[in-house]
Symmetry: D2
Subunit: 283 residues, 4 copies
Amino acid sequence: MKKITLLISCKDKPGIIANVTDFISKNKGNITYVDQHVDTEQDVFFMRLECEFKNLDSKSFTLRFENNLSKPFALTWEIYTHNETLPKMAVFVSKYDHCLYDILGRYKSQELKVNIPFIISNHDILKPIADSFKIPFYHIPVTKTIKVEAEKMQLRLLKQHNVDFIVLARYMQIITGKLIEQFPNNIINIHHSFLPAFVGAKPYHSAFKRGVKIIGATSHYVTEDLDAGPIIEQDVARVSHTFNIKDLIAKGRDLEKIVLANAIKQHLNRKVMVNNNKTIIFS
Amino acid sequence: MKKITLLISCKDKPGIIANVTDFISKNKGNITYVDQHVDTEQDVFFMRLECEFKNLDSKSFTLRFENNLSKPFALTWEIYTHNETLPKMAVFVSKYDHCLYDILGRYKSQELKVNIPFIISNHDILKPIADSFKIPFYHIPVTKTIKVEAEKMQLRLLKQHNVDFIVLARYMQIITGKLIEQFPNNIINIHHSFLPAFVGAKPYHSAFKRGVKIIGATSHYVTEDLDAGPIIEQDVARVSHTFNIKDLIAKGRDLEKIVLANAIKQHLNRKVMVNNNKTIIFS
Amino acid sequence: MKKITLLISCKDKPGIIANVTDFISKNKGNITYVDQHVDTEQDVFFMRLECEFKNLDSKSFTLRFENNLSKPFALTWEIYTHNETLPKMAVFVSKYDHCLYDILGRYKSQELKVNIPFIISNHDILKPIADSFKIPFYHIPVTKTIKVEAEKMQLRLLKQHNVDFIVLARYMQIITGKLIEQFPNNIINIHHSFLPAFVGAKPYHSAFKRGVKIIGATSHYVTEDLDAGPIIEQDVARVSHTFNIKDLIAKGRDLEKIVLANAIKQHLNRKVMVNNNKTIIFS
Amino acid sequence: MKKITLLISCKDKPGIIANVTDFISKNKGNITYVDQHVDTEQDVFFMRLECEFKNLDSKSFTLRFENNLSKPFALTWEIYTHNETLPKMAVFVSKYDHCLYDILGRYKSQELKVNIPFIISNHDILKPIADSFKIPFYHIPVTKTIKVEAEKMQLRLLKQHNVDFIVLARYMQIITGKLIEQFPNNIINIHHSFLPAFVGAKPYHSAFKRGVKIIGATSHYVTEDLDAGPIIEQDVARVSHTFNIKDLIAKGRDLEKIVLANAIKQHLNRKVMVNNNKTIIFS
């Protein structure tokens, strides 16, 4: 059995669901999952399918799909074949280790089915953790004067290893358009607040000052608009006046690692589609 | 435009999604929503569709569906036509008023699009609330000796008004099989605990005794197995050692009314299917 | 037994807890509750006590407290005597009824132990609800040109009835400094977002546009800085891409009424102290 | 400055708060934290204090406390001196690594201020993790026939290292009374369900079968009554019909590690008192 996942979007129009499911059926595929969403404001249609085929010639299937569906319906679409080589995920970190430990623990126990070709950091203090998991660690310092050069080195490594997507596991540097345009909707960040509250560098300090009773963490795709990319996952926890900033940060760490891990999982399972700077997260 | 909702289930087999969507398409319907679920343990397939038709002769559509799909695939199916007469919902209460106020407030503001032909209670103390919302109130006392007779009176009222489903809004009497068999998966109860913890009559007392840090409420369909019917909706709230039983009950009331209201909404929107004493709640 | 609640604050200094508890003891009071909080940034001490006395001459107790504690320690303090006349709570509404129904239901069942001398609204559509609960309803329209005059009428009613605090139960007009200065930390508002995200008039529209995965509601004291007063209570609920604005608003209503009710309860139970535009919520 | 934490309990009686705070004051201590709780059903009083002393002779303080307070009031009490040697925490594991990684990550980053003298396991597969954190790992197999012997070896290690408390980080063996009586309220377990729902060995399977909409995890002190000891911390997460057992287990792992870590922190900070098989968790 060969299994594929299809992600489809197009301007909403009658008959699109029937035509797609009919096409799969005629190509001897069995649909095991279908879900769809219509953005009724923008009039855009989104669909996610999983199908099984006894035999599947991906190339000729793709060609037929292109001719019979994609062109007539002006579809945007992606196809993923299961059980092939694992996706390659690069991890960027700075000094905080909690998200890194969490990701590597899940990677080691195969909860996250990915290949991690390397970890990049602008500091070297987390190298021992990378070492203990036997993952190459590249220390690429970043300062104003060498930022352009640092980014070039990052890009070279990413290309060299055919990295599919990047996880910023509390990487404390701003990613520029140069990197973003190479990985559109493929750079996952964890922001340590319940966005859009408390954008910027010190959200726990802002939360403390404002006296909120709930704090949060937000995982989102990185866009050129800082902390404003499409939100993939959020979670929150209750706090009180007895929490000082250190307590907020500690509580926040727990949220950050869980939220980031969940966002990575949704991304890996091809459950995320991006629409108008928002995400559709299929079940 | 005529809009319908279809709920379908059958033994899982290849081609079922394609055949159903193809049938809708050939009958000039436009599918605006499709979601499905497969119980891989039991090998049962579930599907929910919403479709629009410019013209729809319900009777002949039903006949064609029966012949072309239902029989060949051995489907169990239900069809609901939108914008017809409102569903009729009977409300049973005892002495607690919080769920009743909540339901009637939502009914009045048309958040709940139902018809409430009457309220039944084994006590008369909530009659003034029914009066203020101008809903007929029947006081049917229940004691061991007159329980059979009381249930007959309830059934007579339910039949007389063609009631579609019943909401037990903290009705403190056990419903017998006689009523349940007339309204399978159509009697919605709210239980004041996070089931299956603390079944029975005094869950807050049990929760207090056990020293739990979180309490809950559960809305479920009533079956002959007490507090063990299919769960529709649950929610929880944090509590602490500072909560005495009265505090737990007060916190619980907030959960109960929200959970019950959400369960009613899911039921009304035909988003609930029952499978092996569990529910599928479509999005 | 006479029961009192004391709320005390002062610049933090050694010995304050011992001196206060010692004073209560020497005055033949039994402390049944004590909790304290120190704002270590501002160096301010806060304390809440509940005490029982067999006999208590409030006036002479107050005088002794003033001389022996309040002056030497430069305390700010408030004393509340239990089981006296119920606090008077005015309710302001506009067109939304869900918070009003919720408050009045809790008032009727005595979950909220308050006196509601009247409801004020800038519209008349909720008058029937006030009538059904037999609470006087004053329709005071507010437009730019008559805002000053309207506020005068509101103030006159508030003074006339010796109102203790005001609840804005989705009252859609901005309260001016004139009213606020008469009721400092005594006007409780419910804002339909997880503040500080989405301040302003249409938070659900903003939340929809931003694509958040969690929405919230915030109850806070009204200050002249719009939507920026001390937060009393917040709660959140999970949403998804399948929620349109109407769905967000419906889900939000459930949060709003629970959050507002909880804030009112904390306020009524004298559990809230305000510190530097934040609240301390004692257990 | 010397800092101590006092945990006190006794039969509730008037004057206890005043007497304790007065004693601290007279001994030149400054109370920086006081909270208390009264179990009004059992009539038991609980108190937690933090105090600072410029000079403190612990021995003579203890003697005076014993004579002046403990005896007259029949107190049960414990005193902890801050900034002394770190508490010693033994970790027991079996095959699951997620809680172990989480605990060791927090230990490494000093979020958990403990000494971990060793890890014990009935399997050897997690040894590499212990190695990478440079913590001694003892593989003590447990089967029916050698259980008594295994427990003797465990006890010997625990005594030898003066272990203060034990964390069962998904240790899949039942602890017997022999060990429990040596560490009363000092063995912290994580149970993978929202207790008291789904006690026993396979809670996620039971949760799946029952069709709950929320799953949970519970950390509790181990008593001879299986899964029934005093609950320290609980947390929950929403699930749906789309979750199969594997998904429930994965979601549960995230809860387990956070809940266990929080329970350990409360225990370490001396914020937990046990009362009648329940806990009081001070803020």
